[in-house]
């Protein structure tokens, strides 16, 4: 019997575990998941949750409810991978051995590296606790300057800060305090989004909605005493509320095991999803250094390739299935509207969709049902 060990039970780890469980027999393949958290979060909802209070349970599910019962879940963290011994050290003191290892540990949100907290009115919406604080601050907000800025690139869901700006504008209008509020969108590039055609549309909408765009702002630090944010280029802006994308890095276990780049993202073959220069180790999702966005959509579109390659190896064949970089992305431009983008390694992003369609905006919320019932369970 072969043993497949999966590190990380976010969307990537759980959906791959479930797919493997469906495609193999218990007597042939044992599947073990290492994951410290007991709930899976539908992260796209955090963006909307920042503006409206409802129970977190509306968009989280216990791991036990979404994991195929054939998978053995060990609720702990991996601390070190030793590929020469095919072993993983765990924080509960045990060591687990594998025939095949799948790394799906996601990106670490390095909140401490911001140098300020919600007590300084510096916020983010990338983790539930932080989003809850932002929600409270926004509901008490009565006007002033709100700045939005990424810190490091890459970060999860590239359009998320743009989407936050659009939703914030909507929210402040509904509350009747938009005219008392300046919104500034600070961004590392010359345009407000990496893809020029999308940036053009976004900047047109920013102009219409009175959102000021500041180009070439590469976050350097926060001066919390003087309520200023400072860039590498030497610019400074004052804020009443600062909403950042927190710094993203790979997890400690990757850095400790020498499997990643400077930031700790796993060196991954963009086609086969094998960890570069290693045998029997694969990586998927936000933990990788793939030249595509860090998104659930990428995990979804690449998971089939990863599973097929592992199954081939188990049968003694070579891992020659290839992921072509295919993904899609919705950019929310208000509570009810969005644009659809389509990418692959072979062509730059293409933009579709009528901006003022109701369907796309609603799609993101309705998608939650499909996320928990179909995608996570590995049915697609």
């Amino acid at each position: 019997m072969k043993k497949v060990v999966i590190l990380g039970g976010g969307f990537s780890g759980i959906s791959v575990a479930n797919k493997l469980a469906m495609k193999t027999k218990r007597k042939d393949v044992g599947i073990v998941l290492i994951e410290p958290r007991d709930h899976l979060v539908y992260e796209p909802q955090l963006l909307f949750w920042a503006f409206k209070n409802y129970p977190l349970s509306k968009f989280t599910k216990p791991v036990t409810k979404v994991l195929n019962p054939r998978v053995t879940w060990i609720q702990t963290k991996a601390t070190k991978i030793d590929d020469t011994q095919r072993a993983v050290e765990l924080s509960n003191g045990e060591t687990i051995y594998y025939d095949y290892l799948i790394i799906a540990t996601g990106a670490s949100m390095e909140e401490d590296k911001i140098g300020a907290t919600h007590d300084d009115n510096v916020h983010h919406f990338y983790l539930p606790k932080a989003t809850e604080e932002l929600q409270k601050s926004l509901s008490n907000f009565e006007g002033g300057t709100i700045l939005i800025s990424p810190t490091t690139i890459p970060f999860k869901c590239p359009p998320a800060p743009n989407e936050f700006a659009f939703l914030l504008d909507n929210y402040l209008r509904k509350r009747g305090i938009r005219d008392k509020t300046k919104i500034k969108f600070l961004y590392p590039l010359l345009r407000a989004y990496p893809v020029p055609s999308v940036a053009e549309k976004i900047q047109e909408l920013y102009e219409k909605r009175g959102i000021e765009f500041v180009e070439f702002f590469n976050f350097e630090s926060v001066d919390k005493d003087n309520k200023k944010v400072i860039s590498l280029e030497g610019d400074e802006f004052e804020y009443d509320m600062l909403v950042l994308v927190p710094p993203h890095e790979g997890q400690e276990v990757i850095k400790n095991s020498g499997l990643g780049d400077r930031e700790g993202f796993v060196h991954t073959d963009r086609f086969t999803l094998k960890v570069k220069e290693k045998e029997n180790i694969y990586a998927i999702g936000d933990c990788t250094d793939l030249p595509v966005s860090k998104s659930g959509a990428v995990s979804h579109f690449s998971s089939g390739t990863l599973v097929k390659n592992i199954l081939s190896e188990i049968k003694g064949k070579s891992a020659n299935h290839k992921y072509n970089g295919k993904t899609i992305c919705f950019v929310v431009t208000s509570f009810r509207r969005s644009l659809l983008l389509d990418f692959s390694y072979n062509y730059p992003p293409r933009r579709y969709g009528i901006h003022n369609s109701f369907i796309y905006g609603l799609f993101k919320k309705v998608f939650k049902i499909a996320f928990f019932q179909v995608l996570v369970k590995g049915y697609m």
């Binding site: 070439f216 590498l232 280029e233 030497g234």
Partner: protein, 89 residues
Amino acid sequence: MCLNRNEVKVMSDYDIAIEIDARGSFCPGPMMELIKAIRQAEVGEYLSLLSSDEGTRNDVPAWINKAKHELLEIINEDGHDRYIVKKLH
């Protein structure tokens, strides 16, 4: 001043402290790699960025100008450009 030459420059002309190979990476990859490297470099050091992305020709000179570093040359090599940058502060 920024020269744009259609010939391969002899690399020993510059004492390159950091070379960034961003060939094959789409915009904004090459520029973000350069920004990361500038953060790590010492003042006065030279960096060399290799990029095959067309958009880099627009973005990198504009960013260098904004961030007040120096773009010494853009050298057209086989299938990519080489940007020579000096960190000034």
